[in-house]
């Protein structure tokens, strides 16, 4: 333990004053955001109180699948404080359909998705009516007085049954949303000629993203225009989609994401409640607020993962991987939401991981079930892919009797081979798997732990030690617009920034990214401080309000820095170029003779100079500017990346498994990540920590459980096990820095890396501990019960009914 803590980077030991060359980028700046967050001076959506504001409560379907035959709201309308009661029929003419912007194939089935159900409900929790009342308690009370008659239909909760001929149909068109295929190389030859073939089926259990701030919406109108505050990651996309859905013209709709308490993909959505609150405000002309309860959120915020992965790997006897075949079923839930069908495709290109191979074959079928829809959750498709390939490499190593690190070394892309185009067709710009792995092995004490493992095995210790490896990479920084276009996504992947230089030389940055915990106000300030040579404190960052930030693609997919941050850099370059012209004019020199350094424009070879603040004031006064010069230094930039970002790293996990009880304990966890250059090491480390925690949570703790009738059983935080501090290990983190070559900052995304990396490291460790007993897999989450059952099944191989009793 002591050794780990010593090796790790302790946040409080990273000194803010550790500065090289006076640069801000690379410095562990404490966050600007924190002053308001630690004192309660925040602006969450639920804080908003407006004169005359009404409160909305939704009546939600108690059945997973049913026809709605009658809704009677008459009694509810007479309850105290009730202003209005609406059912789906009341909105049918105007509510449109919730958007899906990723029709992944030409024949994809995109069912109509009314924000409020009108004739049929298809998951428990779907809104069927709502009460609008003078306070939240009264609105909730009156829900009891609404009468709804349902004619039950059959639920179908697992994908295999949903695909059975004659099974219950979620939609008229059937339960298959799409099949999407991708193939490279001669997969048949790769498998035919291979000495070893390993096949496994993995279940990516359904997860509930569980941002700490429940969703909330406030809608208002002045009779002409509308303003919607929402706890969202995507104010810009939301504005466009709400305009298209409700018919409110885009220029009459302002969307604001104020302080937002985490998202992890769950707030990358256009929700029924956002649409309905707008419609209610339009109908009543009064401001309305809706804030969900946690149980309501567990039922209705889109879920993540829920895939069934059949994967085969073919390899030569020396371990060289020849090919990978993937057959995937992806549970869409009852409807396709904003990017639901695209999530598994984001993983489609990552099943080759860091490895070279001859051939790859991928098939994904999206399946409808009577459960809440799935959509993006931290990593979105890439954690699933990385889990599968990293688990398979450990399985292959076991099959070959080879050390899993050695097997990886034989197959990964070597440092000298970058840029490297993978079998999936992606070009990884840079990386150094050797360096990250060597560093991780040293921090972990790999050989010592292997020796201890051998000793415990020899002694038949009831507590076995397992070592799990994950040498991950991922594609993030979403995304080059032309690539999104080729995948049938409905929009581009650029990002926008504008930089305004105020008369006193202070700077306002308007960004299209929409942070909800990532610290953009701090990191963007560091970038601008370096680019323009102004003090860090002199930069303000505005975001999340379409009235000030009119253009943006928001925050998800580890894109904010690598796309949005680069847009900030480019806008600063334009500002500098304008300022150079003014400086040259004021100093009676040619712009070509002006040097810029740390906020000062200097005539080359002389002592004559002007600061950027002086130039700002001179531009504001506009008395003496170059002929034809527009009197402003402000500039915009919209950056569309050429390529994705490919962070990578090596995570090593040691788990003790009690073979008598099935209990697991993570004894040590080492993560060495390479996210390219780092703007703020404190923020990067925080992202890695939180990412690892969520990945471990999938491996060991979390699962959304439904019964056969489609009822969610994990509706509270007592039932859905989010890890607390006591459940998680101390992480030892370190970095290697291989700059990205595809952006001027040399940065790679970091928001999802930890989550993508950690799940297979943990499960590989659990399985490694149990391998002497014949265990080849433990389904996630690897709870004591599951571990114990896996051991029991392995010990009694003749039993195939799955039970130990």
């Amino acid at each position: 333990m002591t050794e780990q803590l010593d090796a790790g980077v302790a946040a409080w030991q990273i000194k803010e004053s550790d500065v090289l060359d006076g640069r801000e980028v690379g410095r562990a700046r404490r966050r600007k955001e924190d002053a308001r967050l630690v004192t309660g001076r925040t602006q969450w959506t639920d804080n908003i109180q407006l004169p005359g504001m009404l409160h909305v409560a939704f009546l939600r379907s108690p059945m997973a699948h049913a026809r709605i035959t009658r809704v009677d709201t008459s009694v509810a309308r007479t309850q105290p404080g009730v202003v209005a009661v609406f059912s789906g029929a009341d909105f049918a003419a105007e509510q449109g359909s919730l958007p899906c912007v990723w029709p992944v194939s030409e024949d994809i089935v995109i069912p109509d998705h009314p924000p409020m159900a009108v004739t049929e409900v298809r998951y428990v929790g779907e809104a069927v009516a709502c009460v609008v009342a003078t306070d939240r308690y009264k609105a909730a009370d009156a829900l009891d007085a609404i009468e709804v008659d349902y004619e039950p239909l059959d639920a179908v909760t697992d994908m295999t049954s949903a695909l059975d001929e004659g099974g219950p149909k979620v939609h008229e068109a059937g339960n298959k949303a799409f099949t999407w295929t991708f193939a490279q190389g001669d997969i048949e030859a790769a498998f035919r000629d291979a000495a070893v073939r390993v096949e496994r089926t993995f279940v990516q259990q359904r997860l509930i993203p569980s941002a700490m701030e429940p969703r909330a919406v406030v809608a208002q109108t002045d009779g002409d225009a509308f303003t919607l505050h929402s706890s969202t990651q995507i104010p810009h996309i939301l504005r466009v989609m709400l305009a298209l859905t409700t018919g409110i013209p885009e220029h009459k709709l302002r969307v604001v994401a104020p302080d937002v308490g985490g998202g992890f993909g769950s707030k990358l959505q256009v929700t029924a409640e956002e649409v309905l609150c707008l419609l209610i405000t339009r109908r009543l002309g009064r401001p309305v607020k809706w804030t969900e309860s946690r149980s309501e959120g567990n039922l209705t915020v889109h879920h993540g993962r829920d895939q069934l992965q059949r994967i085969s790997v073919a390899a030569d006897a020396d371990g060289r991987i020849r090919g990978v075949k993937v057959d995937l079923l992806a549970d869409m839930g009852a409807y396709l939401m904003l990017v639901t069908p695209g999530v598994p495709l984001l993983g489609a290109f990552m099943y080759s991981g860091v490895y070279k191979m001859d051939a790859y074959d991928f098939t994904c079928t999206g399946v409808f079930t009577t459960k809440v829809p799935t959509d993006a959750y931290r990593g979105a498709g890439r954690p699933e892919a990385t889990f599968a390939i990293e688990r398979m490499v450990d399985e292959l190593a076991a099959e070959l009797g080879m050390d899993p690190i050695e097997l990886r070394r034989r197959n990964w892309i070597r440092h000298g081979e970058f840029p490297y185009t993978t079998v999936c067709g992606l070009t990884y710009d840079s990386g150094n798997y050797e360096a990250a792995t060597d560093r991780a092995l040293a921090l972990f004490g790999y050989d010592r732990l292997r020796a201890e493992q051998a000793d415990r095995r020899a002694r038949e210790d009831p507590v076995q030690l397992g070592i799990g490896v994950s040498t991950y990479t991922e594609m993030c920084g979403l995304a080059p617009s032309r690539v999104l276009g080729s995948l049938s996504y409905g929009a581009g992947g650029w990002e926008h920034a504008s930089v305004r230089v105020l008369p006193t030389g202070k700077v306002e940055v308007v960004t299209g990214t929409s942070p909800h915990g990532q610290g953009h106000e701090t990191a963007w300030s560091q970038i601008v401080a370096d680019a323009l040579g102004v003090p860090f404190e002199d930069v303000a960052v505005l975001h999340g309000d379409t009235s000030s930030s009119y253009k943006g693609m928001d925050t998800y997919g580890s894109r904010s820095l690598v796309v949005g941050g680069v847009a900030v850099v480019q806008a600063c370059e334009k500002v500098k170029e304008k300022a150079r012209q003014v400086a040259a004019h004021l100093m009676e020199a040619s712009p070509d003779d002006i040097e810029f350094s740390r906020g000062e424009f200097r005539v080359r070879g002389t002592g004559t100079s002007r600061t950027i603040q002086e130039i700002a004031l001179a531009t504001f006064a506009a008395h003496d500017l170059p002929d034809g010069f527009e009197p402003r230094l402000d500039a915009d930039a919209t950056f569309d990346p050429d390529n994705f970002s490919f962070p990578h790293g090596t995570h090593l996990c040691a788990v003790e498994v009690d073979t008598e009880t099935g209990a697991t304990r993570i004894r040590s966890y080492v993560a060495v990540d390479d996210v390219g250059n780092v703007v703020n090491p404190l923020i990067v480390e925080g992202q890695v920590h939180g990412g690892i925690a969520q990945g471990i949570a999938q491996a060991l703790f979390e699962e959304a459980v439904h019964d056969a009738d489609g009822n969610l059983l994990t509706t509270t935080m007592a039932d859905y096990l989010l890890p607390s501090a006591a459940d998680l290990p101390a992480y030892t983190t370190d970095r290697t820095e291989t700059p990205a070559t595809t952006n001027p900052l040399g940065v790679k995304g970091v928001g999802e890396a930890g989550t993508i990396a950690s799940t297979p490291a943990v499960v590989n460790a659990v399985v490694d501990a149990l391998r002497p007993y014949g265990v080849r897999d433990v389904p996630m989450p690897c709870t004591p019960e599951r571990v114990w059952r896996a051991l029991g099944q392995a010990r009694t191989p003749q039993r195939t009914d799955g039970g130990l009793s």
């Binding site: 302790a10 946040a11 409080w12 404490r30 966050r31 955001e33 924190d34 002053a35 967050l37 630690v38 004192t39 309660g40 001076r41 925040t42 969450w44 639920d46 804080n47 109180q49 105290p80 939240r136 308690y137 009264k138 009370d141 569980s210 941002a211 700490m212 701030e213 429940p214 302080d259 937002v260 308490g261 985490g262 992890f264 309860s293 946690r294 149980s295 909800h516 915990g517 990532q518 610290g519 404190l682 480390e685 925080g686 920590h689 939180g690 990412g691 690892i692 925690a693 969520q694 509270t716 935080m717 007592a718 989010l722 607390s724 501090a725 006591a726 998680l728 101390a730 992480y731 930890g754």
Partner: protein, 173 residues
């Protein structure tokens, strides 16, 4: 008048100020603070007592304000995140969370700050295990907790420094 509409006058001291409001018997303390008194620094994360985001200090002791009825705190004293430090100052715990990057989105933070404030008052020099235990009743989805635990130790240090008791600075082994 029905049970839902009968109102009870609740008078209490919040962050050193006497406040009163007439509320129904079922009004949660969390809603009372946020919506009746306008103290929106207290956050509601789950409304069933698991996440701890709504933690406030009731007569100095941490309680889940979402599991407490406002009428039960009549005559008592409540401290929320807004009252942890003097005007425009940061308490040692608030400073430590900032220095150690013990928060990201910040939604769970007020609950942690209140819980840790009470903990360090009773145990100004905690061991690693005690610090871990102290924050285990609160959930955070962003940080992975490591920096929060560091913040507990750092707050103990700051507290010891500011209180001029260097002999108490033995928290970190």
């Amino acid at each position: 008048m029905s049970e839902e509409t009968t109102r009870y006058l609740v008078t209490l001291v919040v962050n050193g100020v006497v406040r009163e409001a007439a509320v129904p018997a079922r009004r949660l303390l969390s809603d009372f603070l946020r919506h009746d008194l306008g103290l929106t620094g207290t956050h509601v994360g789950c409304e069933h007592g698991v996440c701890g985001a709504c933690t406030v200090l009731l007569d100095g002791e941490p309680v889940r304000s979402c599991l407490t009825f406002a009428v039960t705190v009549d005559g008592h004293e409540v401290t929320t995140v807004e009252g942890l430090a003097g005007d425009n100052e940061l308490s040692p715990v608030q400073r430590a969370f900032t220095e150690c990057h013990g928060l990201q989105c910040g939604f769970c933070t007020p609950g942690f700050l209140c819980a840790v404030t009470a903990f360090l008052r009773d145990n100004p020099a905690p061991t690693e295990e005690e610090a871990l235990e102290a924050v285990s009743g609160n959930l955070c989805r962003c940080t992975g907790y490591q920096n929060i635990i560091k913040a507990v130790h750092r707050a103990a240090e700051i507290q010891a420094e500011t209180q001029g008791r260097p002999e108490d600075r033995g928290g970190r082994a």
